[in-house]
């Protein structure tokens, strides 16, 4: 037999040598790192682990009740059968960080050069910073791995301090900003994206949670792992403000639809349509998902996952009454169940309410053919209709509906934000991108830093931009101090709802102990023979808070693998 006969090579792979000598293959390698970013339209959403939303999956209860421990973190476990959070688990993040490190090392060794390689290098700096951003947000200071380990290496590595972790992320983002073009394809990192993420990271770094000297712990021995232990918080707010301003000063992003809509109706459409396109002037970084090649039932499918059961959708991530009540009246006053507005709670509200939430009576889309006879107009029914005999017929989108009742909402609401009404989601997957960063967030970051620095006038100017775009009036000129801060926090809650901010915001502001409370929903009864509607608030899910939940535990298995690791407080 000839000697080369056994020298068979794989036909379905590229060799190491081929990849690192061909810029187009290197590009494909970097593209794969992009796929490691979190894509928010998942079966489970981070929003439902905060106060604004409720998932129906009882499995997440330990998280909502602060009952997780180092052995059990429910859906946040890397090996959980629900894959929604897989990209932002410890394991995946470090896997992708390795890819970044491989890129840096191999590109350097290969001697590959040129404009494309330089751009890719900037992008990979951005991506690595993004992965560490998630680690920092969930865990505080983490092991900083900046090399591509070989099999024979010693893998034990200690956690860096929180400060070192922030510095590392910021250094990566600075490197990215220096190497990247100002703008370009919105699915790729740009200088704008690097600066915007830097603004977010520095905002987190300046926040109370990480400047509390671990006051929330029970005398944790390693406070440097979970926050700053020295330096000035004010300087950190200044850095955060500067970072946000740097993005604003680029002058290349605008709030979608402008800040002077002609009517609340137009404002509502602007805010709706902001999410229903493949990229616009407000977007800084977006991600598309390849649903064509992912046939898994868990592949992102927001319309089916979140839509009402009366449309054969699964009704997950229903807004809580607490979120609904956060939408101001159109005149800028707070909504209150004890005010006259309680008679018609869904009238004259912030236009973003109508663009974000499906409520009883909301116009939605054409019902599926087997339901349209019961509701030809396509109006959401989360209420109950009284019959002549005093019994109630449950609405089509309730948990007592004749259509897939187990998918019905507990709270009386469904999510409308992001969802394209032109698609029948029971069959089709919408292909709209997930907004990783949009300009409104940067403005809000700037507002927050300005407020913390006491620059209230500056803060109001920018806060009003966000409000005006939404068709809401300016903040009252005389509002200041704590009221203004509350106004800002409410604005951020409403504007950025379901965009993966609230989970972290309530932690870094350390308001979680107050806002994590039992979820409220609504029972709506349409009286027989009249237009009267009765609204009754009820508790639909228990939640509890313990301070250990500010950060996640490092899983026991990982602790066991690496004896240099120190566990987070409370676990």
């Amino acid at each position: 037999c000839d000697k080369d006969f056994l020298e068979v090579k794989p036909l379905d792979q590229y060799s190491d040598a081929a990849v690192w000598s061909d810029a187009s293959l290197v590009n494909a390698f970097v593209n794969d790192i992009y796929l490691g970013q979190q894509y928010g339209f998942q079966l489970e959403m981070l929003a439902s682990l905060s106060d604004i939303s409720m998932t129906k999956r009882a499995e997440v209860n330990p998280i909502l009740n602060s009952e997780i421990n180092a052995s059990y973190v429910s859906v946040l476990d890397p090996n959980h059968w629900l894959t929604s959070f897989r990209n932002i688990t410890w394991n995946s993040l470090y896997l992708n960080i390795r890819s970044c490190n491989v890129f840096f090392e191999r590109v350097e060794e290969s001697g590959l050069q040129g404009e494309e390689i330089e751009r890719l290098t900037g992008e990979v700096h951005y991506l690595r910073a993004n992965f560490y951003y998630w680690l920092m947000s969930f865990y505080g200071g983490v092991p900083i791995v900046d090399q591509a380990y070989q099999i024979e290496d010693d893998f034990n590595i200690a956690r860096s301090t929180f400060e070192e972790t922030i510095n590392f992320i910021v250094a990566d983002l600075d490197a990215a900003a220096a190497a990247l073009p100002l703008s370009g394809d919105k699915a790729r990192a740009t200088r704008g994206a690097a600066l915007a993420l830097k603004s977010r990271v520095l905002l987190y770094a300046a926040s109370d949670l990480f400047n509390s000297n671990a006051s929330w712990t029970d005398g944790y021995a390693n406070p440097e792992l979970v926050g700053y232990t020295g330096g000035s918080q004010t300087q950190r707010w200044q850095a955060a403000q500067d970072a946000a301003k740097a993005v604003i000063d680029l002058g290349i992003y605008n709030l979608y639809g402008g800040t002077s809509p002609a009517s609340p109706q137009e404002a509502r459409e602007n805010y709706t349509n902001l999410f229903l396109n493949n990229g616009n002037e407000e977007d800084i970084l977006i991600s598309f998902y390849d649903d064509i090649n992912d046939s898994d039932w868990q592949a992102p499918n927001p319309g089916r996952f979140y839509g009402p059961n009366g449309y054969h959708n699964w009704g997950n991530h229903t807004p809580t009454q607490q979120l609904v009540d956060s939408y101001e009246m159109i005149d800028g006053t707070e909504f209150s169940w004890s005010g006259p507005e309680a008679e018609n709670p869904y009238e004259n509200r912030d236009p973003r309410f109508y663009a974000s939430i499906l409520y009883d009576g909301a116009n939605w889309r054409q019902r599926p053919d087997d339901v349209s006879a019961a509701d030809p107009e396509g109006i959401v029914q989360t209420g109950f209709f009284e019959n002549a005999d005093g019994t109630f017929t449950p609405g089509l989108d309730t948990r007592q509906s004749s259509i897939e009742d187990w998918n019905g909402t507990y709270t009386g609401y469904y999510l409308r934000k992001f969802i394209d009404p032109s698609i029948d989601h029971q069959y089709e997957t919408q292909r709209l991108p997930w907004r990783q960063i949009r300009y409104a967030e940067v403005i809000l970051n700037y507002v927050e830093a300005s407020l913390e620095l006491g620059q209230e006038a500056e803060a109001k100017t920018y806060l009003n931009m966000i409000r005006n775009r939404a068709g809401m009036p300016d903040v009252p000129a005389d509002e200041s101090g704590e009221d203004l801060m509350d106004r800002y926090r409410n604005e951020r809650k409403v504007e950025l709802a379901y965009e993966q901010h609230r989970y972290f915001d309530i932690r870094r502001w350390m308001i979680a102990p107050q806002v994590i409370e039992d979820v409220e929903g609504i029972r709506i009864e349409h009286q027989f023979g009249s237009d009267d509607v009765e609204y009754q608030i009820m508790e639909v899910q228990n939640r509890n808070w313990q301070n250990k939940s500010y950060l996640l535990p490092i899983l026991l298995d990982e602790m066991n693998r690496n004896d240099l690791l120190i566990q987070n407080p409370g676990y």
């Binding site: 006969f5 056994l6 020298e7 794989p10 379905d12 792979q13 590229y14 060799s15 190491d16 590009n27 390698f29 593209n31 794969d32 992009y34 796929l35 999956r57 009882a58 499995e59 209860n61 052995s71 429910s74 890397p78 410890w90 470090y94 896997l95 992708n96 390795r98 791995v145 070989q150 099999i151 290496d153 893998f155 034990n156 590595i157 790729r188 493949n278 390849d290 064509i292 090649n293 039932w297 054969h312 599926p368 053919d369 087997d370 339901v371 006879a373 019961a374 089509l396 004749s402 259509i403 187990w406 998918n407 029948d424 069959y427 292909r431 990982e558 066991n560 693998r561 690496n562 004896d563």
Partner: protein, 1086 residues
């Protein structure tokens, strides 16, 4: 005609008995000697040295001083005592004539007929005819033939007697198939077990792997499910020896890599299993044992045509008992109660479910009954022709089998068509040629939803929901349109999987002229596999009753809804591969001196396997009228493809040495190169040594232990390898992610590359060191035989990634490294007993294997407490919380460490490490794995006159499975759960309260409450046959006509499991169940 008698023989012997002289001739030539015990003088010794003498002349000279005659017929030499000439003849002489045939009507040329109690005897001629003069009517004829059971016939008044001899199954084992050859069972030194094809064919199964359980000592078979086309059992030789890939190597007619499962059972001659070092001749693929399948070949004789037909009906062995509508509503109310939520059913609702008074609004659906039919058909038809002349033998078999799914209006069914042609040509005295070809068409048809999905939906479907509305329209789904009564039919389109298999072999056997005993065997085999898979997915329709609206007549208004997909979609997949094997073997057999028998074998073999695949997808079809790709739209169309190559180069050999057939030794080896590993470590050497001692051949034996007629002690040691890992782990490679990266406002889609495993250039085989000690004993002159083997397997260099100890911060996708070690030891045994009680013949076989494995080393997290380490525990032992009871009161919860949020009715987890909290450190390694530690079978076969009965009882113990159900608001509960559950009113101390899916910690966390022993004993197989008397069949020119009734998995006893089949691999009821088959069949020979 006596071609062989022209042959000249060489013989050299010193002081040998006549028996030894004959044995020597047998060894060196093709001649076989037949004689009855006592024919040959035992004490006379001969010293002969003759070369090139003709057999006839030699025998004439040798026997001239004895009253011993001989007769040469082809290659058979029958030696008999000459009748004593001066005997006084009885006055009345009777001449009896007749023919002797086997069960299929084949004449048994050379069978001996002896008048009982005399030396008077004769032999059947080429056509099986005989003629004998006997003393009188009360004479009895004793008819015997090698390989067949001896029969006695009373002459009576008959002058013509036709005798049918039955094959003696014990005698069939006389020859055992081993790697690249055949060995006599008497002189075998390895642990090799076998089963005849006829026995395997008794089980009315469409997958031969299902029929193996309980039939071969040492083989553990775990049935996975009965889905037509996917009903293969997992076979493990002597249990699990590795935590790597544990699948044995399957070799069919000498070619590795062919399918065992789909072979037509009626074409199997026998199956042999190499369990110890004897497998070392298969080297790097043999560590998990080798299964050798040999198919039937033609026998010299007139064409024997056999038709057989089976018609079976099958149903699931076990269907879980689910809660009914009223029970389900009660349980959901309890869930609501535990959540302080308003109860969703009133007492009136529950009563309405219970009494069925309003079938429209309050249904009570038994989903299994609605979806599955009582019995499903399966059929098997076969015609074979077998026969030959001295120059050419042929075996041709054509068969078809059909298996329907369990569903009503089933879209699931399996068809298989087989054609096998095995031809042997005797070209001249030196050269034989054979040609084997097999063509097989496997036609699998399924609905577009998988069986797992359908059975999951059956478990989940709510009893208070309609399968069909009272007017016959299909009811609503759970989700995705998955109403099981619809998605199990072709209403959703179809999934067709067609596989074409072509196996071919061309071989030559060449006796090298001039070198006595040296043979060259060469063969070339080409196996081609082709697969075409087509999935045509169309929308389907279900009916819902929104708001329970009624028309003016008060009739419900149902609304039709489109389900699943907006428009049809088509995916077509093609796979295509070919394996080419080239092999040459030299085989040399010689006897030196008087007692030294040597057999040498050496060969080389190269195997290549290449394949390609591609698939294409389209949607937006203009209509569902044309289900072809061209008719689909171009938007979203998609396709892909790939390929692979494999190459192996093997050198192998065997040396056998026997001294007087008493002291036996064997050495086998293989030097194997595989494409899987890097060049420097590509080749490995695998030796195996075995020794045997036939102690019963010792002179002292016969006097000291006369009741043991045969005794052999065997011992073996060998090293084999296991290369069943992903190839190319030594290369740093990048793979294309199946997901594209999309950019440019959604307009650009590009491939992405990700880093494969970190290269491990040292990657090499997993090696097994296999030790075996065995004992073969025959009692009662072979009527009772016992084989017992003890084995000890040590696995080293098991390829295992260090995932458990390398922190995830490293971010490495780890390669498998040769780090694991495990051992497996145990024993297997086989006991055979046969006896005749007048006309009743009974064979009883009992076999079993007990194995216990243990992980000696693998990757463990550094900080893991000792009681959680898997090292030192059996493979597959999992981590579980110890469930030690049920919390009855809040006080109990307060007084014992508990999971946060625990409440009465919850399962108590043991605080194993006594640290006052329940966390992951309280999980304990539990010796529970799916693979049973003991499996065994009891075979009983009986013949009485024209009746035959075969029974196989099979059982296993020591296996476990983990039960899970998706019960709650979108999935039903087991009725046993309803009955046993904890409630405040009926507090159970064993079973927990009602739960909703995996919301409770004791559902989401693995714990011992859900662990069930899967011990069972079952009537695996029973067959009752009746052969029509020849007096009836001969009148219609039929040689043999037999009808039979058989059954598979008819009865099962499993004390710990009620709701699932104990052999099921899924503890959630989500796989297609195993089948119970009742079958009626007939076979007819012309």
């Amino acid at each position: 005609k006596n071609t062989y008698s022209q042959n000249k023989i060489d013989i050299e012997i010193y002081q040998g008995t006549l028996q030894q002289v004959f044995q020597k001739i047998e060894k060196n030539t093709e001649f076989i000697f037949f004689y009855k015990d006592g024919t040959l003088p035992e004490n006379d010794k001969f010293t002969i040295n003759k070369k090139g003498i003709e057999l006839n002349l030699f025998l004439d000279d040798l026997l001239k001083d004895y009253s011993i005659g001989y007769k040469v017929d082809d290659r058979q030499v029958t030696v008999y005592k000459k009748p004593i000439e001066n005997r006084v003849k009885k006055a009345l002489q009777f001449t009896v004539t007749g023919t002797i045939t086997d069960e299929t009507g084949l004449p048994l040329s050379g069978a001996t007929v002896v008048e009982k109690g005399t030396t008077n005897g004769t032999q059947a001629d080429f056509d099986g005819n005989f003629s004998i003069d006997v003393a009188g009517e009360d004479a009895t004829l004793v008819v015997s033939f090698v390989g067949y059971s001896t029969q006695e016939v009373l002459v009576g008044s008959q002058s013509e007697i036709d005798i049918v001899l039955n094959e003696d199954t014990a005698a069939l084992d006389e020859v055992v198939i081993v790697g690249y050859g055949v060995q006599k069972k008497e002189t075998l030194t390895g642990a090799v077990a076998g089963v005849g094809g006829e026995e395997l064919a008794q089980a009315p199964v469409t997958n031969i792997s299902q029929g193996v359980a309980g039939r071969i000592p040492g083989v553990v078979a775990i049935s996975n499910g009965g889905e037509p086309g996917y009903d293969g059992a997992t076979l493990r030789i002597r249990g699990l020896s590795t935590f790597g890939n544990a699948a044995p190597l399957v070799v069919v007619d000498g070619v590795p890599g062919r399918s065992l499962e789909r072979i037509d059972p009626s074409t199997i001659k026998n199956v042999s299993v190499l369990k110890d070092a004897s497998a070392a001749i298969y080297g790097a693929q043999a560590a998990n044992g080798v299964i050798l399948v040999t198919t039937k070949r033609g026998k010299v004789g007139a064409p024997n045509i056999k038709f057989s037909y089976n018609h079976g009906i099958s149903r699931p062995t076990v269907i879980p008992e689910m809660a009914n509508a009223a029970e389900y509503a009660t349980l959901l109310n309890e869930v609501d109660g535990y959540n302080d939520a308003p109860l969703r059913f009133t007492e009136d609702d529950i009563q309405a479910y219970r009494d069925g008074s309003d079938p429209w609004r309050y249904p009570d659906t038994d989903w299994y009954e609605e979806t599955l039919k009582p019995w499903s058909a399966q059929t098997y038809g076969n015609v074979s022709i077998n026969g030959g002349t001295e120059k050419m033998n042929y075996f041709v078999s054509l068969s078809h089998r059909y298996q329907d799914g369990f569903y009503e209006n089933s879209a699931t069914n399996y068809n298989q068509y087989d054609l096998r042609t095995n031809l042997d040509f005797n070209i001249n005295e030196y050269l034989d040629v054979y040609i084997n070809t097999t063509g097989r068409f496997e036609d699998r048809n399924y609905p577009t939803r998988s069986a797992e999905n359908i059975f999951r939906m059956l478990m989940r479907s709510r009893p208070n929901s309609h399968a069909y509305w009272p007017n016959g329209m299909p009811g609503p789904d759970i989700e995705y349109g998955d109403n099981p009564v619809v998605i199990s039919t072709d209403a959703t389109g179809y999934s067709r999987d067609k596989r074409y298999v072509f196996n071919s072999d061309f071989g030559v056997n060449l006796k090298i002229p001039g070198v006595e005993g040296l043979t060259f065997r060469g063969n070339a085999s080409i196996d081609k596999n082709f697969r075409f898979d087509k999935d045509w997915v169309t929308p389907w329709y279900l009916y819902s009753w929104p708001e329970q609206r009624v028309d003016e007549n008060g009739d419900p208004i149902l609304v039709r809804g489109k389900k699943g997909y907006e428009d049809p979609r088509l995916t077509e997949t093609m796979d295509d591969s070919q394996r080419i094997l080239l092999r040459g073997i030299f085989d040399y057999t010689k006897t030196f001196g008087e007692d030294h028998d040597i057999n040498l074998l050496a060969g080389v073999e190269r195997i290549t396997n290449k394949g390609d695949s591609f698939w294409a997808y389209r949607r937006y079809f203009l209509s569902d009228a044309v289900d072809q790709l061209f008719a689909g739209g171009s938007e979203d169309m998609n396709n892909s493809g790939s390929g692979f190559e494999e190459a192996r180069l093997n050198y192998f050999g065997r040396v056998n040495y026997a001294f007087s057939e008493k002291y036996l030794a064997e050495f086998v080896w293989r030097y194997q190169g595989s494409y899987i590993f890097e060049e420097s470590g590509r080749f490995g050497f695998f030796p195996g040594v075995s020794l045997g001692y036939v102690v019963s051949k010792e002179k002292f034996w016969e006097n000291t232990v006369p009741f043991i007629s045969f005794a052999k002690i065997r011992a073996s040691w060998g090293q084999t390898g296991n290369d069943a890992i992903d190839p190319y782990q030594y290369l740093a490679n990048y793979s294309v992610n199946n997901l594209s990266y999309i950019s440019d406002n959604g307009n650009s889609r590009t491939q992405t590359l990700f880093e494969g495993v970190i290269p491990n250039s040292n990657v090499t085989w997993e090696t097994a060191t296999q030790k075996n000690i065995g004992l073969d004993l025959d009692f009662l002159r072979g009527d009772l035989s016992l084989t017992v083997d003890y084995f000890h397997y040590l696995r080293e260099d098991i390829l295992w990634p260090r995932n458990a100890s390398v922190p995830n911060t490293a971010g490495l996708t780890l390669p498998a490294e040769n780090i694991g070690r495990s051992k497996n030891q145990g024993f297997d045994f086989n006991l055979d007993y046969r006896t005749n009680i007048s006309d009743l013949r009974i064979n009883i076989g009992l076999n079993g294997v007990y194995t216990k494995n243990e992980i000696l080393f693998w990757d463990e997290p550094q900080g893991r407490p000792e009681y959680q380490q898997s090292t030192g525990r059996p493979i597959g032992a999992g981590l579980y919380y110890n469930a030690i009871g049920i919390f009855q009161t809040q006080e109990e919860i307060d007084n014992y460490p508990s999971w946060q949020g625990a409440r009465p009715g919850d399962i108590i987890f043991e605080d194993y490490n006594d640290d006052g909290v329940i966390d992951g450190n309280d999980r304990v390694r539990y010796d529970a794995s799916r693979v049973p530690t003991f499996t065994g079978g009891l075979n009983i076969s009986m013949n009485y006159k024209n009746f035959d009965l075969a029974v196989l009882l099979q059982g296993a113990s020591g296996g476990y499975f983990y039960e899970t159900t998706e019960s709650g608001d979108f999935g039903n509960y087991l009725q046993s759960f309803y009955e046993d559950r904890w409630t405040a009113e009926n507090p159970s101390t064993e079973d927990p309260r009602t739960y909703n899916r995996n919301g409770e910690y004791w559902v989401s966390e693995q714990n011992t409450y859900w662990l069930r022993k899967s011990d069972y004993v079952r009537l695996k197989n029973i067959e009752l046959g009746y052969t029509l008397p020849e007096s009836v069949t001969s009148s219609i020119l039929v040689k043999n006509f037999r009808v039979y009734l058989s059954a598979f998995n008819l009865l099962t006893y499993s004390p710990h499991i009620d709701d699932y089949d104990p052999e099921s691999t899924s503890g959630s009821g989500y796989n297609y169940p195993l089948n119970k088959v009742v079958n009626v069949g007939a076979s007819i020979n012309f």
